[in-house]
């Protein structure tokens, strides 16, 4: 029995997959706090789709694919900002137009230049078949994001909470915004390997949203979301061995499941807690059935 449960650890490709998924999940979890509080879910989704043409171009030009993906994500982010600043188009429409255009261009490139990158891999991820070189790229991205968070994390929290005050004490808010955007784009690239472009946004939203229901402290929220993201990605990859199903799908389902449980049972901000509070308010003390 135990032996059977430890079976995935016997295979190197499974050990790699679990490690990479866990690291990426943890970093995504950390960033998901900012995504949740800044209301950047749609933007994150857009970025994760906008990286596709970058991947194709990087392959055609023989560059590291993480570089191409990142550049293409940032370019898309800049386009969205440009349209919003210089026209009367609303943000959500700008995002919708830009990311579908990028994604479409990526599809065209991938079909025009048949490569060894299979479309399926980009869209749905394939962490089980990750090449060692790509794994190193992922770990570098994760380390970079962690470094930014260690150095500027507190400023980013301040800016997310009160950009006016951040400005008033002389912080460069544009730099902060670009930094956070860059981090989101970078982990979107990394997470694409684990769960694919379509499901990246789940990893970038669910852990933060779940942790947000559990605490009123940003520090704890970040710790919780990181642990949750990392843990669920690791366990998801592990489970996918037995389920023989898509790794990305299993990870995201696991995260959604945890979210639903927390949504219902969270001690303070859960649905049941809210109901208890309402009942207490309507029945005077002691008369709760």
């Amino acid at each position: 029995m135990i032996e059977e449960l430890l079976l995935p650890f016997d295979y190197e490709y499974m050990r790699n997959a679990m490690l990479i998924s866990g690291v990426i999940g943890a970093v995504c979890g950390l960033l998901s706090c900012f995504v949740a509080l800044k209301g950047w879910s749609l933007l994150g989704d857009a970025l994760s789709h906008a990286v596709v043409p970058g991947v194709a171009l990087a392959w055609i030009l023989g560059l590291p694919f993480a570089l191409g993906a990142f550049a293409s994500g940032m370019l898309a982010a800049w386009f969205m900002g440009f349209i919003r600043r210089n026209s009367r188009i609303r943000e959500d429409a700008a995002i919708g137009i830009v990311f579908t255009a990028f994604f479409g261009a990526g599809l065209v490139l991938l079909t025009l230049f048949p490569s060894n990158i299979r479309l399926r891999t980009i869209v749905f991820g394939n962490v089980l078949g990750i090449a060692p070189g790509d794994a190193v790229q992922m770990l570098i991205v994760a380390a970079g994001v962690l470094l930014v968070m260690a150095l500027r994390g507190r400023d980013l929290v301040l800016w997310a909470f009160d950009p006016t005050h951040a400005r008033a004490i002389g912080l460069d808010t544009r730099l902060l915004q670009t930094l956070l955007l860059g981090c989101v784009a970078a982990v979107a690239v990394a997470a694409m390997v684990a769960v694919g472009a379509v499901l990246v946004i789940a990893m970038l939203v669910a852990p933060g949203a779940t942790a947000y229901l559990l605490t009123d402290r940003f520090g704890r929220m970040m710790a919780g979301a990181t642990a949750l993201g990392g843990g669920s990605a690791f366990i998801g990859a592990y489970l996918s061995y037995f389920l023989d199903g898509s790794t990305g799908g299993v990870i995201v389902c696991l995260q959604a499941l945890i979210f639903v449980i927390v949504l219902v049972f969270a001690p303070q901000h859960g649905l049941l807690a809210a109901r208890r509070a309402r009942q207490r308010a309507s029945h005077p003390a002691g008369s709760i059935a």
């Binding site: 150095l151 400023d155 301040l158 909470f161 005050h165």
Partner: protein, 325 residues
């Protein structure tokens, strides 16, 4: 509220001096700010000069045209005007949130960017601007006032903690340090942000509608505190719709209507004629459905400021006479 820290206490306590170098500049850019800001000299006299400021928003709307405002030395200045007159825009120009298309703002002779780096500019936001469900505690918020004094990693020192403690004590919120910021009453929230401005030791403190949703007692407390801050040598700028409190509370008044149409001591500017200029809507604006204000004499020498819907907004006393509660 017995302690009155002098304005320089926090600012002077930093004997850091670095050789300026490009590497250092780059490091600063990455790490946030530096210790450089702390070793500023304190001007004996603090003044605020906004000269011929024009602000245009990206959509082309010119919210402020050729606005000038000079405040010499410590004062409490009330910014009055109808909704959309440009009060918040003038604030933004003073805080460096918008770059004026023309004109400039100087604080104690410094540009706004310099003043920001010196931690001179403190801001108490309008209630609607804050995300009250953000997971931060009262202590976290007040600590944000200290970020400008900390090193790049923002690790609070003992001095920072003491300043936070003291700021909270001065506004009477020391018992709420671990509350989430949204779990407070309207007045308490205001006091927390005021504590942040205190912890920051800001020289120019801007308050956008500090009396919105605040009861009379809290309003009195805030006013008392602002008077203390003025006595410490700070410039206080308050945008308010509460005309009734202006005469007893503000030394100076600036009337805003697309520009600063009048500014000066309360006795000379806060007069029915001037107020009618600021609040009285033109016929065209009335047709467009914008709020207007009229003045009606009310028996014993006072004048009522009445909104379009008949609500009494305030009462103007005959000059020189204190307001009866």
């Amino acid at each position: 509220m017995t302690e009155r820290p002098t304005i320089s206490a926090a600012a002077a306590a930093a004997p850091f001096r670095f050789q300026r170098s490009t590497i250092r500049e780059m490091g600063e850019k990455l790490l946030g700010q530096s210790a450089r800001r702390r070793s500023a000299t304190i001007p004996t006299r603090l003044d605020l000069r906004a000269s011929n400021v024009t602000v245009a928003y990206p959509n082309g709307h010119v919210a402020l045209r050729d606005a000038s405002l000079t405040l010499d030395g410590p004062t409490i200045c009330g910014l009055l005007g109808v909704n959309g007159a440009g009060k918040s825009t003038l604030f933004k120009a003073i805080m460096g949130m918008v770059r004026p298309a023309a004109g400039e703002v100087r604080l104690g002779g410094h540009t706004v960017a310099e003043a920001q780096r010196l931690n001179w500019v403190a801001y108490v936001p309008q209630n609607e601007e804050v995300d009250w469900s953000f997971p931060v505690s009262v202590r976290d918020v007040v600590m944000m006032g200290r970020y400008g004094y900390m090193n790049g990693l923002r690790i609070p020192s003992a001095a920072d903690r003491a300043a936070v403690e003291q700021g909270l004590r001065r506004v009477g919120m020391q018992g709420f340090v671990d509350r989430q910021i949204g779990q407070l009453s309207g007045g308490q929230k205001k006091r927390v942000f005021l504590a942040r401005a205190l912890a920051q030791d800001g020289r120019v403190i801007l308050l956008d509608e500090p009396f919105g949703g605040v009861d009379v007692t809290t309003q009195e407390q805030i006013m008392a505190l602002l008077r203390e801050l003025r006595a410490e040598g700070r410039i206080i700028l308050v945008s308010t719709h509460d005309l009734a409190s202006v005469p007893e509370f503000c030394d100076q008044v600036a009337l805003v209507k697309g520009t600063v149409i009048a500014a000066g001591p309360t006795e000379t500017v806060f007069t029915p004629t001037q107020i009618a200029r600021a609040f009285g809507a033109s016929a065209a604006q009335q047709a467009a459905g914008q709020a207007s204000v009229s003045l009606r004499p009310d028996g014993d020498g006072t004048t009522l400021v009445v909104a379009a819907d008949g609500r009494v907004l305030g009462r103007l006393e005959p000059q020189g006479m204190p307001r009866q509660p």
